[in-house]
Assembly symmetry: C2
Homo-oligomer: 346 residues x 2
């Protein structure tokens, strides 16, 4: 029986807060050694104190899973100051309280009403992040009312180029890319620029979100694009290029907030992401590259030193069918009720 | 106070059957003099006997509205025969039992699982329709699994060209067009080829359907496209070109079949279509052309002789605000709860 064992990292995941956190965090912790937690909680994670408190909550919720550790981020808002950023790394050489700051474009996804319209305003913050070696994570869609939704990611690439040119030593991750244009732009950039790719964007086109059928459980931001875009993402993920890392963007919402008018954006994949990735990579004869895409490339780019010191759990994927549960609590997962040809070995 | 009085025609509307018919048919009959009823009921309207029975049901439901008359259609299926078509016009020169036949592409909209994949198969039927002067209505999206949803209308234009070239005397209506490509193709064709345009496609882009927000009550087939497409549709509707007629494609579905996963396709506009059209036409300084777009062009193209003999009700639109009801029964209308600057005078 085919098996694959490695230390898995999910470099983009939403745990939310409160009861939802308690329910979903262990579903990530049981498979992954490290996960980068998004800071767009309610209220957001803005300060070092916020990040410390949030990390404790997550560690408490996941205490049964040794060898899992959350990597913290902070939300960069128009009023974030360089001083607030310095707090995340009290002394150089230490492990920072948060490893990355995340910028959300105003109004374009869940809890982004407080997001950014003018990236220039953030340059003093980016300057300090570059100095401290903190990573900048970008939701790569351009805000503003004169851009159509399906064009926002392509329109953002100019903004990305300008930030990259201005801060040559800043490590930047364009999150959950969805277009061939983004793949090519990131490929053309220097090695301090990388991207995450979700598992659902390796499978979906817009037809499965809102054209052929309207499927709110497949709806996320940025929305899946065309088949040519999806194919470019698969190509990037299996390429072995260390610029492309796995980030699930797994985002839980209760069923009634998905099956409604104006549903929340987010696809819940955390507990099935690794089996699905194994299925996709196997289909493309690239199973030997999965441990890089969904693990090693992340801890190299993020320089997750703790991997050397602290225990990091391994996951073993095994080729045997699993049926995706209809629900996890009141959250309907991606591929609900469908069968995947890989599973996680207990 | 601005007023506008004319005989309105809705050349594409769904009444469905049973209780839904009883509820929605009067909402059309109270405003429109004529309406072309789509035959994709359950079961479908396939034969002259079906059409006679369905017309009676509609007339019964609308008996309080004198001067309204439904125009019947039949559903053209792979097994429709020329003989079945001849039944719709028992003797030449008479008013036909159905004025048009409608082709649905397989699987692409509500009740289209029995639809067509191979248009060649239908050529014997088209031949008889051409001979009898019956009109061919086409849902203009190309079926088949290798075409992306957003491309289906453009892909269909080749099929349309071939049918038009093969049957030069067949009157053809491409229904509910959604792209600038369809506008231009219809414009380039001879005068026996026309198109209907809905009111929601004059207002929506897919951002308001499934990208910026996911709004199932705006979801229909074909889905709204880009801003440039919407603008081309507005241009066509207000142009004064008699090839472009109003057809609402109003399609009622109960709320629970819209606010769910894999919702039904269809936007319910019947009771607010004329006020909305007046608002749009006024915004574009084209109010004087509304009576043509939403009336005269239809009865000319369809040669609705009954207009001369039978009473045809007039509608008076008046510039005064109306608030769209949240619901009509359990059907949530387009623009639910919003205010329109025009109303229908009682």
């Amino acid at each position: 029986m085919k098996e694959l064992t490695f230390k898995a990292c999910d470099m983009h995941v939403h745990f939310r807060q409160g009861d939802m956190l308690t329910k979903v965090a262990p579903l990530t912790a049981q498979h992954f050694a490290r996960a980068l937690l998004m800071p767009n909680t309610t209220p957001p994670i803005r300060t070092a104190a916020d990040a410390r408190r949030y990390k404790r909550e997550v560690m408490d919720a996941c205490s049964q899973y040794k060898g899992f550790e959350p990597l913290m981020t902070f939300k960069i808002l128009p009023d974030t100051t360089p001083e607030m950023v310095r707090d995340f790394l009290p002394s150089l050489g230490q492990i920072p309280i948060a490893v990355a700051g995340k910028v959300y474009p105003k109004g374009l996804t869940t809890n982004a009403q407080d997001g950014v319209e003018d990236y220039f305003e953030l340059f003093p913050v980016f300057e300090v992040m570059q100095e401290l070696g903190l990573i900048l994570c970008l939701h790569g869609e351009k805000p503003g009312k004169y851009i159509e939704g399906l064009d926002r990611e392509r329109a953002f690439l100019g903004t990305l180029k300008f930030i990259v040119a201005t801060f040559p030593d800043l490590k930047i991750v364009m999150e959950h890319i969805t277009t061939d244009a983004a793949v090519n732009t990131v490929l053309d950039m220097p090695s301090n620029v990388a991207a995450t790719i979700t598992v659902h964007h390796l499978l979906l086109t817009y037809d499965e979100v809102g054209v052929d059928k309207m499927r709110p459980h497949n709806y996320c931001k940025p929305v899946a694009k065309r088949a040519a875009d999806r194919d470019a993402l698969v190509e990037a993920a299996i390429s072995g290029c260390p610029k492309f890392m796995f980030g699930s963007d797994s985002a839980p919402h209760p069923q009634h907030k998905k099956e409604c008018s104006e549903c929340c954006a987010g696809v819940f994949t955390a507990p099935i992401a690794l089996p699905l990735l194994a299925e996709i990579f196997e289909q493309h004869n690239a199973l030997d590259r999965l441990a890089n895409f969904a693990g090693r490339f992340a801890w190299r780019f993020y320089e997750i030193l703790e991997f050397l010191d602290k225990p990091a759990k391994q996951v073993t994927l095994v080729k045997e069918p699993m049926v995706v549960p209809e629900k996890y609590g009141d959250v309907v997962p991606f591929k609900s009720g469908e069968t995947i040809s890989w599973n996680v070995k207990n």
